[in-house]
Symmetry: C2
Subunit: 335 residues, 2 copies
């Protein structure tokens, strides 16, 4: 059976999708050799560069967030596969500068391994850099050590905060500190209603019965342990927001940024209904939602489901979230 | 069998999704009574107002394009159902002004009927307005009269051009003329790989065999006559762009804006690959792509497929497409 996907030869998938991104937004991004997406108009060298790495197949993430006020570069692997250390090192070399580089790494084994190796090599070459680990998935439980939590779409508000701080001219230590502070109170939980298909080999990734959903699903179909009968949008939001609020120790009077990230087949219609429920739940506990996104930010092919991301903000991170960015897939929050 | 959708009571679907939109982007839009989405910060009264109407279930369209530089208001019906004439009249009354109103109507029977009735009533009340019909779907064939062509996602670049002209302070006659000129050279063609589910009654809308796709599918699953075995992204783009180029009588040396609109389950990965193919095809015929969008603009629930939109631009419409807009789901094209 043929896959129900608009693709050409599977082996060219990643190269072609990156060429397509650069073709659609040439004023914003361009594709360098070695599958490195960079800004069309580079940031000045006296500012900290923000770089990330990761597999393809999750579009618009990660490369769709390259742009002014967000990422300087995204080093891309193949579908669902981290780039190797040599590719990442090539990316880091391009951005060698006195101001330094902040490397944002999502916590998946392949990404972490490539990042660790490339950072060692880069440091030997005198490339100044720090790294930050995104491990926002709380599905493994609240007592799980950070190293055992996966990185999900919480990376995107983090790119925004770190990117805006760098754009403002903060030093590497300052950008790192601002990003770490924000990162320490991001929590994400995913829910899936269907599996999806690997776009290169056509194999199904995970399966769910007709009347089932699963809270805690990872972004490659890894189980999350929260399989249940299908619940309403409000019931689902209540369970997920409850867990997320606990994970970030959310207290009355605090302010949050909320993103409802559609992972594929779930419609913006549904995502809006979930956002409404979350805003009401936050309000009931005396928490103000200062901004939000309802969109496909980081997808998992045609999977039906979403990731709910809660970030506790202070005046500084709020300012950075609202700052201007021209990245192709970042929506300005307004003024 | 339960639907694989995150919803609550079907009868509240539209109200809840609009509340969610307003909750997510309170700096940009708000929801007025009678399911009318308006800007959070209204445009000054001396400028032409741009209003549209249509059913829900196609999010982010149409209401996600309310904002500075695009729509002033979107009058919403229920799922896949036009608002009635009385609702639309209520919307038109809110924007009564000496500068006038441009009403953008997508060519579907219900929308056209409501628009015609509401316009008659509005004119009796002295509301100054003109209307423009979007009938960009070319699937019925190139010889089909405009009145028999459906309105598809070509409305979105049209909102942008008309909205930017109005924002610049053009008169109603001028905005109408600019919009009509742009509208006369928009063509859209849709392709589907799967059907979808009506979110209120759970019924499947159209069905396609495992190895089939259909070019020409309407946005509620209406047949388009172009059923075939699944083709590659490049083959699909070649057929569709060829037809679209003919429909707008595209000539070497002309410039186009291209949008690849994902209608649901088709990933941004695939949409980028299609954009790449279209840009190459345009280039081969000596046509420059001056800007593009690769995104979910107007969806058809969880259907796999996309709409390819080609708009021939001149210096003026290009400027308006690139102009600033803060509508929640419009992506700035860069500077």
């Amino acid at each position: 059976m043929k896959m129900k996907k608009f693709i050409n030869a599977p082996e060219n998938l990643t190269q072609e999708l990156l060429e397509g991104l650069a073709a659609a937004y040439p004023q914003k991004v361009k594709l360098d050799e070695g599958k490195i997406v960079v800004r069309a108009k580079p940031k000045s060298e006296d500012k900290v560069a923000i770089i990330t790495l990761g597999g393809a197949g999750h579009e618009p993430a990660l490369s769709g967030f390259v742009g002014e006020g967000m990422l300087d570069a995204s080093v891309v692997g193949d579908i669902f596969a981290a780039p190797n250390a040599v590719s990442l090192l090539a990316g880091l070399r391009k951005f060698k500068r006195d101001a330094g580089i902040l490397l944002v790494v999502l916590n998946h084994a392949g990404d972490v391994m490539s990042a660790n190796m490339a950072m060692k090599m880069a440091q030997r070459e005198g490339i100044k850099l720090k790294s930050i680990l995104v491990a926002d998935d709380i599905s493994a439980g609240l007592d799980t050590p950070l190293a055992d939590r996966r990185g999900l779409a919480g990376c995107i508000p983090l790119f925004k905060v770190a990117g805006a701080a760098a754009e403002e001219g903060k030093s590497l230590d300052e950008v790192f500190e601002i990003a770490e502070k924000f990162n320490s109170r991001i929590a994400t939980l995913a829910v899936a209603m269907t599996g999806c298909t690997h776009p290169q080999n056509g194999q199904p990734i995970t399966e769910l019965a007709d009347d089932e959903m699963e809270i805690g699903m990872g972004q490659h179909g890894e189980g999350g342990g929260g399989r249940s009968k299908i619940l309403t949008a409000d019931e689902t939001a209540k369970i997920m927001f409850g867990d997320l609020a606990k994970a970030v120790s959310l207290k009355s009077g605090e302010k949050i940024f909320v993103a409802v990230n559609g992972v594929g087949a779930t419609t913006p219609m549904e995502l809006s209904i979930v956002f409404r429920a979350v805003k009401n739940l936050a309000s009931e506990m005396g928490v103000e939602v200062v901004g939000g996104l309802v969109d496909e930010l980081l997808t998992v092919q045609e999977m039906a489901g979403f990731q709910l991301i809660v970030c506790v903000v202070d005046e500084q991170s709020r300012k950075y979230l609202y700052a201007k960015s021209d990245a192709p897939y970042w929506t300005s929050l307004g003024e």
